[in-house]
């Protein structure tokens, strides 16, 4: 009985969910093309998108038994870099290019009212904060819908796994409230305040403009009031104290796969692409150069910006601080890397390109996680069968198997603690946990099994 109804759910729900999402996307596309649409269609669009994704997600998995749902991942066009993947990659990339560099194509107008896609979101923006929508409002709204809608899909997919359930609920709530509703509503409530970032978890160095003079000035201005001061102090305490302490206790996962917006999108909308990350040793080398390079870059930029702020100089060693420091970072890293490449290339390079190769916040926490943390992925004795599910589904491109098959714990700077390696392991070999620092790194692991062979794996 229940089986039959579950199958109905699947055969009916999937097309209904896809259909609704499609309706939402078509409305967005029409508006993107500059066609003026009645405001009722905005609500239709938002509801269709959100519920479409949820219905699709629920009915895709609800009719099946609880367990790992990776059948056919490498056989499908969308998830194996086929035509669908390329088309979606191009569309998302196109959206990001317009968003960052050609917002007038989305309807932004230097003088007078906005048009097109941006104006289409005005009713929602007025409802939330009493002012017209910006391109960032449109982006934030769609971003949040993607995380919440596809977060539901992820939860149903992993409903047997309580770690996945709570983690996903956490990124959904963090995005919905910390990143979206609270800042937007506060903008509306304190319209006299100049802008400063109000997402409580958006710490420097991910928030690269935190120390820029305009941002500090806005927080410390009279209109910013005590709230501005609070955000200034919180932001400094956040990156100097909270971040390393929490990372010490639980690893960087508390941020990357429990609250972060970039991580939130990667874990929900990006989940179907997690296996596309490159696992080669070459890419690991590239990763270390790039991500630590970006960290160094933002440290230098911020140092120069602070020099400018305290000295009152607009230039550093003869170079204009905006032109030579702030602007290139914002362009190269803030926009091109994190947005265009980071999200636009999901279907081709995987869902964590930015988090793995670019994010300076991840680099910073990664250093803590690697050298001073209680977090590790424990390998369960000699139970590994080298099947490679863990490595395949590691979105960070960690070759998890190479550790597990030696009986070695996985302690890696880049691990965001999503827990999927542990979930897909067919033999119960991997466990993310926080424990004593001693015994965390096993340089000479012993594979349990034989009485007399206490081998170490220092050579191979």
């Amino acid at each position: 009985m229940s089986l039959a109804s579950n199958q109905n759910l699947n055969t009916l729900g999937v097309p209904i969910g896809l259909g609704l999402s499609f309706v939402g996307l078509v409305i967005l596309a029409l508006s993107w093309m500059g066609i003026a649409l009645p405001s009722i269609l905005l609500w239709v669009c938002l509801v269709a998108l959100l519920f479409g994704m949820m219905v699709f997600g629920v009915s895709t998995y609800a009719g099946e038994t609880e367990g790992i749902k990776n059948n056919g991942i490498w056989h499908k066009s969308l998830t194996n870099k086929g035509m669908l993947a390329w088309v979606s990659g191009v569309v998302i990339t196109g959206f990001y290019v317009e968003l960052y560099w050609f917002p007038e194509l989305l309807g932004l107008s230097a003088e007078g009212a906005n048009t097109g896609l941006i104006a289409f979101f005005d009713p929602l923006s007025f409802a939330l904060k009493g002012s017209a929508a910006s391109q960032w409002f449109v982006y934030g709204t769609l971003y949040t819908i993607a995380i919440v809608g596809l977060g539901v899909k992820f939860i149903v997919k992993y409903r047997h796994n309580r770690y996945q359930f709570w983690r996903t609920l956490s990124v959904m709530v963090a995005q919905l409230f910390l990143a979206y509703f609270i800042p937007e509503i506060m903008e509306g409530m304190y319209q006299e305040q100049p802008y400063f970032a109000k997402d409580l978890k958006y710490f420097w160095p991910l928030n690269y403009y935190f120390f820029e003079d305009w941002h500090i000035n806005n927080m410390t201005s009279e209109a910013g009031g005590s709230m501005g001061m609070f955000y200034l102090v919180w932001g400094i305490v956040g990156f100097t104290t909270l971040t390393p302490i929490i990372t010490y206790f639980v690893g960087k996962r508390w941020y990357c796969s429990w609250v972060c917006g970039c991580g939130g999108l990667a874990e929900t909308a990006g989940d179907p692409f997690r296996h596309l990350s490159d696992k080669s040793i070459k890419s690991w080398k590239l990763e270390r150069w790039l991500i630590h390079g970006v960290l160094l870059y933002i440290v230098v930029v911020t140092a120069v910006v602070l020099y400018g702020y305290f000295s009152g100089q607009g230039s550093f060693m003869g170079m204009d601080i905006y032109t030579y420091f702030r602007k290139p970072y914002a362009f190269l890293i803030g926009a091109a890397f994190s947005g265009v490449v980071g999200v636009g290339f999901y279907p081709l390079l995987g869902n964590r390109v930015w988090c793995r190769f670019g994010c300076p916040m991840a680099a910073y926490m990664g250093i803590v996680q690697r050298f001073k943390s209680r977090f590790r992925i424990t390998t369960n004795g000699g139970q590994c069968i080298s099947c490679g599910n863990c490595s395949t589904y590691c979105e960070q491109g960690i070759d998890v198997r190479s550790y597990a098959q030696k009986g070695q714990n996985i302690v890696r700077a880049s691990c965001v603690g999503c827990g999927v390696c542990s979930a897909v392991c067919p033999r119960g070999v991997l466990k993310l946990e926080n424990g004593p620092e001693e015994n965390r790194v096993s340089d000479n692991p012993i594979l349990i099994g034989h009485e007399q062979t206490k081998l170490n794996s220092d050579v191979i």
Binding site: N71, W74, G381, S386, K431, I448, G449, E451
Partner: protein, 444 residues
């Protein structure tokens, strides 16, 4: 003395572990690994995941291709026709030859075929090799119905593979229950329910009599003793595997079902060793069978043989038994010894969650109450702790008390420790309290 030339036939887990560990211990030895299955080592355990689209074939390789050259392990993709034990030479099918100082036979297995009529028809196959994966992909294109013969681990893997492509499966099991020679009745029932839940039609106590051909020499149906003729377009033969030693049967090498070896994995021929699936111990290690075709034992034998080959002769002495598997969605782990039928003088305790998918079986000595073994379904346990407890000879009460230490389920999972203890206490009239998880005990 020049560097020894060690030639290993077979690049499965046994052969490759031998090669890797020889290299770890000796920088000079020439190491050659010969295989006609694939050029590079791949993980046999991943065959099913490649078929189901969880992985691509390239993901089955645990080491990057450059690893072998970097560690000076020569890979030779060739087929050995015969071995000249006198001259210490291999004859390849392409007419070439190579010599060895030490020869390691890691030949693996082949699926059993028991002489069923029609067992060589098109669409009939086992699942062991890379080639089997490719032919299964070919043989199952567009088909509707399949029959699997033989109720063990490969059978249930094959069922899962076929179901992933929505192919109907009839699963013929000769015994009264699934994996009846290994699993006790409670566990067998738990797994059977789950197999049925995945719409696999389990036909117990059913024997294959004949595989029937269509006009093109392809399977059309099977004939069984209890269910008559069953129409199908594919037959999976998964009634166990046997050592892959056919080409050595008429040689000087002493064989029985497998290649006969002593406790040092030495054969009757000088400088020739055998290990893994193809080896048969003349005297089985204590408490073990004389052929054990398991990933882990192949790996352990490889570690041991590498020691012997590099100058410290080491006896194969496997420690406490452990194993694991996954039946569709349900993971299984076992530590110590749990036999299908409770042995005399042993007692057992079985706990099952009311969802019917999580179960744990404990076996212990009735008099001394020494813990003997555990089967877990849907719960993960720490290997290291159970290995230690078995070696220490801890009592069943001790195990019960420390279940939280042993639990290896992901964080935030519900713990069943208290519930299990409650049931144990009432069944055995005890009053044991479960201890909170302690890192210092786990690492002590």
């Amino acid at each position: 003395m020049g560097a020894k030339r060690i030639v290993i036939i077979g690049n499965g887990i046994s052969g490759i572990t031998t090669a890797r560990n020889v290299r770890k211990r000796n920088a000079e030895a020439q190491i050659v690994v010969v295989s006609s299955e694939t050029k590079y080592f791949f993980s046999r355990t991943a065959l099913m995941y490649a078929y189901m689209g969880h992985m691509k074939k390239e993901h089955m390789k645990p080491y990057e291709d450059g690893f072998w050259a970097k560690n000076r392990i020569e890979l030779c993709f060739a087929h050995v026709n015969s071995i000249d034990f006198e001259e210490q030479k291999l004859n390849f099918s392409n007419g070439k030859q190579t010599n060895y100082d030490k020869l390691v036979l890691a030949l693996g297995s082949t699926p059993n075929k028991f002489g069923w009529p029609g067992q060589d028809l098109k669409g009939v196959q086992g699942l062991y090799s890379f080639n089997d994966l490719e032919s299964m992909e070919e043989n199952t294109v567009g088909i509707k119905k399949a029959v699997i013969v033989g109720g063990g681990l490969i059978g249930v893997e094959m069922a899962e593979m076929l179901r992933s492509r929505k192919i109907e499966v009839d699963f013929l099991v000769r015994e009264k229950r699934f994996w009846g020679n290994v699993l006790p009745i409670e566990e067998g029932k738990l797994i059977q329910r789950h197999i049925n839940e995945h719409h696999v039609n389990l036909l117990l106590e059913t024997n294959l009599e004949e595989i029937i051909s269509d006009e093109n020499g392809r399977v059309r149906a099977v004939k069984t003793d209890t269910h008559g003729e069953i129409e199908c377009q594919f037959v999976g033969l998964t009634a166990g595997v046997s050592p892959n030693i056919k080409f050595l049967k008429d040689s000087e090498l002493e064989t029985d079902r497998g290649i006969l070896v002593n406790e040092f994995l030495e054969t009757n021929q000088p400088n020739v060793y055998a290990l893994g699936d193809c080896a048969q111990f003349k005297t089985a290690p204590k408490g073990r069978r004389n052929i054990e075709q398991v990933w882990y034992t192949g790996r352990m034998m490889g570690e041991v043989l590498a020691k012997t080959l590099t100058g410290s002769k080491t006896e194969y002495k496997p420690g406490n038994w452990f194993n694991s598997a996954k039946f569709f969605d349900i993971e299984y782990q076992t530590y110590g010894t749990v036999t299908a039928n409770l042995e005399e003088g042993h007692s057992q305790f079985y706990w099952e969650h009311n969802n019917g998918k999580i179960g744990i079986k404990f076996v212990f000595d009735s008099d001394s109450r020494r813990f003997i073994g555990i089967n877990t379904f849907g719960v993960r346990m720490r290997h290291e702790l159970f290995d230690k407890w078995l070696t220490q000879g801890q009592s069943i009460d001790f195990i019960m008390e420390h279940l939280e230490d042993a639990n290896f389920d992901p964080e935030l999972y519900k713990s069943y420790g208290t519930e299990i203890l409650k049931s144990y206490n009432s069944e055995f009239n005890k009053n044991i309290k479960i201890k909170k998880k302690s890192w210092s005990r786990i690492f002590s």
